[in-house]
């Protein structure tokens, strides 16, 4: 039963590996970037999971309420920053893919390698 209790962490690990697998195996540069985005999303999930306190609500202090349990806001703030980093990485990666397409006429990794080889 305890194993199932870590449900969120199982999802984290599985999604992480799906993303990583896509990064390693894909031949298409855009699919690789999608894999990378999934890989990063898994980490967001881990941070969100660890800040959840059972029965906790948003950490806003209300007048007169003293026995409220709050979720930890810090990991949420951290992961907001990490999401921004992830979005900018994906954007930059896609911009590079656009330029690769312009320069090579393809976004398949093996075809790019084949074009570079003779020189």
């Amino acid at each position: 039963m305890e194993l199932l209790g870590y449900y969120n962490y199982w999802v984290f690990a599985i999604v992480l590996m799906i993303g990583f697998y896509a990064v390693i195996v894909s031949n298409n540069l855009i699919k690789k970037l999608l894999g990378l985005a999934i890989f990063q999303s898994a980490v967001f999930l881990m941070y969100i999971t660890m800040d959840k306190v059972e029965g906790g609500t948003a950490p806003i202090i209300q007048a007169g309420v003293t026995d409220q349990i709050y979720s930890n806001p810090l990991p949420q703030v951290l992961i907001l920053t990490a999401i921004v980093v992830g979005v900018s990485t994906t954007a930059l990666g896609l911009a590079i893919v656009v330029r690769i397409k312009e320069a090579y006429g393809t976004i398949e990794e093996d075809e790019i390698l084949a074009q570079d080889r003779p020189s």
């Binding site: 990378l36 980093v85 090579y104």
Partner: protein
């Protein structure tokens, strides 16, 4: 209010504030001047911080006066000061060289944006060195990485694009691994401040998550630092980047990742995880030996000048990791010293390459024949910096190799084998530096060479860097004092 107290913050804030200004400047010369001035200011701040640290007090700065561990803390000790000197020095030298070198490679209308990315990279790298908490290190690491992807992609060769794509994938995977590690530690300790973390880990009842975190962080940073066999992104990124960007990144980008690795492993993990020293040593030492032998061997057979030097960088990271993996005072001192000495040697070599590339567009070894006759000063600078890379007495490279060999020999029988690896690696360095010299000095060019000596400006910068190699070879007090102090701080945490 004493401005001296704010130096640690200004180190990051000044390049960050100058960035939007540079974007707005329309003239590429003005953008260059602003960027160079900013970088020079950062260099001066780094020198001031180093002098402060040398006089015996570390800098501690609380952003917005919120005390640690609740607020964001900046910290500068001997190790940070040394890394800051390398970062800002490399950036300043490379920018002075950029005045002559960059016009060939990047169109003048794109240059202001290029310089803006440069300043972001500078701010990010300096931020890593001053940050006192794990998450800020991650944010600064990503700022510097994203900016350096842009810088590398600025190269004129279309092969720069697949190279930077690979760099981006590997860099992001490395940073994400680091983030997972930091998350796991936060789960167990509830803090991100490194100093606070080191204390609270002792109270953690279950060490397994921390152990997993140590694995993720070490591997993630090893990816960023191009520790063999995670180096695969490095050769092409260095080869196809604009020449001055190679000077900047080769001198400091991987070293900064090594800095974080040292800081985390010695500050947080070594004192608190039982048996971590052995895991760390047994994991890294074989990789370091392989890096020295294999990367040097590849460099011996490489045909492109810049890629040859890039492979040599991977081998040099091997030397640094070898010293670290001894996990003792002498080894750490040697490693930190080698971080500094390799930065100035490799920086000088790539500066000479930038001079050479003004007239020799194709940097294949066969195509640089006759360059020594046409550009005697450039090639003379290259040879002296090459001697420093090999570790010939009288140059900076000798000092750190000497420290490293002394450190490994104290280990007894195994030490002799390690010393042999270092000597073999250095002999291989003789071979690959000699191959360049042979092509430049003794090969008869196919076509008459029309090249002239590089302009005085870029030549002066190169020679100052080369003379620094000789100066720190004959008078190594400053780097030795800094590395000894840094090593004793790091080793001091191990009970």
């Amino acid at each position: 209010m004493n401005p001296n107290d704010h130096l640690a913050a200004l180190q990051v804030v000044i390049p960050l504030l100058a960035t939007p200004l540079v974007v707005l400047l329309r003239s590429h010369r003005l953008a260059w001047a602003t960027t160079t001035l900013t970088s020079l200011m950062a260099f001066i701040i780094a020198i001031a911080l180093t002098m402060g640290v040398m006089s015996g007090h570390d800098y501690q700065y609380f952003m917005g006066s919120w005390p640690a561990p609740y607020g964001i803390e900046l910290r500068v000790d001997a190790l940070s000061a040394l890394i800051l000197l390398i970062i800002t020095g490399a950036s300043t030298f490379a920018l002075f060289a950029a005045y002559h070198s960059i016009d060939d490679q990047i169109g003048s209308h794109r240059q202001p944006l290029f310089y803006a990315a440069w300043l972001l990279a500078l701010a990010g790298l300096s931020g890593i060195a001053v940050a006192g908490d794990a998450f800020n290190i991650f944010v600064f690491m990503e700022i510097s990485s994203l900016a350096s992807y842009v810088l590398v992609a600025g190269g004129p060769d279309k092969r720069a694009l697949p190279a930077v794509y690979k760099y981006l994938i590997f860099g992001t995977v490395g940073a994400t691994f680091y983030l997972i590690g930091v998350g796991l530690i936060y789960m167990m300790t509830g803090t991100l401040n490194l100093a606070d973390m080191a204390v609270r880990i002792q109270e953690v009842s279950d060490q397994n998550p921390v152990l997993v975190a140590a694995g993720f962080i070490t591997v993630g940073l090893a990816l960023k630092a191009a520790v063999f066999p995670l180096h695969i992104w490095l050769p092409n990124a260095y080869t196809f980047a604009p020449h001055v960007v190679t000077v900047f990144l080769a001198a400091c980008a991987t070293k900064v990742a090594l800095y974080v690795l040292l800081r985390f492993d010695f500050f947080v993990f070594q004192p608190n995880l039982s048996g971590h020293e052995f895991q760390f040593a047994y994991f890294l030492m074989p990789l370091a030996i392989l890096a020295i032998l294999i990367a040097s061997a590849v460099a011996m057979f490489e045909k492109n000048l810049k890629r040859l030097l890039a492979w040599s960088s991977i081998a040099q990271i091997g030397y640094i990791m070898l010293g670290v993996s001894l996990v003792d005072m002498a080894g750490l001192t040697a490693s930190i010293l080698h971080i500094f000495n390799h930065a100035i040697a490799k920086g000088s070599l790539f500066l000479a390459v930038a001079c050479l590339a003004l007239h020799f567009r194709d940097l294949n070894l066969t195509k640089i024949a006759g360059s020594a006759r046409a550009m005697p000063w450039t090639m003379a600078a290259f040879v002296i910096a090459g001697l420093s890379l090999i570790g010939v007495p009288g140059t900076a490279g000798f000092i750190s190799k000497w420290y490293l060999i002394t450190a490994v020999l104290s280990m007894g029988i195994a030490g002799i084998a390690l010393a042999a690896v270092i000597v073999i690696g250095s002999l291989m360095a003789v071979v690959y530096v000699w191959r360049i010299v042979e092509h430049a000095y003794f090969q008869v060019p196919e076509n008459p060479v029309s090249a002239r000596e590089a302009p005085l400006g870029i030549l002066t910068v190169t020679w100052i860097a080369v003379l620094a190699n000789l100066y720190f070879g004959l008078n190594p007090d400053l780097p030795v004092a800094l590395s000894t102090s840094a090593a004793s701080t790091l080793i001091g945490y191990i009970p």
